[in-house]
Symmetry: C2
Subunit: 103 residues, 2 copies
């Protein structure tokens, strides 16, 4: 288990990439086999596998192999760390009076 900030870093770096984010969006609906994941991206399988590796290292997805078929799932609570961070940023914003700004 990574520490909070490391985990948050890994998750944000993983989903900052549009392809990896699209994979997460797809897996949020249901698990999928690797070949089905690759299809909409017109991407070579090795490239997709690299993206999946980043998502797996970030703790976002997990996969299981049955025979020659690998099925990828979004981990339960995969995005919890991001929910947590966003929740922390909800502190109401104070307005600093211009007259009090340091000179």
């Amino acid at each position: 288990m990574l520490k909070y900030h490391d985990e948050l870093n890994a998750v944000l770096r993983a989903i900052a990439d549009p392809t990896r984010r699209a994979v997460v969006e797809r897996l949020a609906k249901s698990p999928a086999v690797v070949s089905d994941l690759a299809a909409p991206f017109s991407m070579a399988l090795p490239s997709l596998m690299q993206h999946l590796r980043v998502l797996e290292d970030a703790g976002l997805v997990t996969s299981q192999k049955h025979g020659r078929v690998r099925t990828v799932s979004l981990r339960t609570g995969a995005l919890d760390v991001l929910h947590l961070w966003l929740g922390e940023q909800r502190t109401p914003q104070k307005i600093m009076p211009t007259g009090l700004a340091p000179t």
Copy 2:
């Protein structure tokens, strides 16, 4: 106004960097002058200004100059696009029965 996916991309790329994320966390509490923002990072001012530029381009922060003092604020609703995206990923996950996995 950037489109949703472009805005989401820009926000995620901006906060995937730990320094920029720390600036956002600081500004979520209250606006701050640039010199005060720089202090905790033991970072040269030009480097901080570059980070602020990225945050500003992503629509996360805004700044106002009064005399020689620039005050930076988190934009209202700055992180809304991320809340929205996270909300979309809440679709309950279906469990694929192993026996139904394609062969």
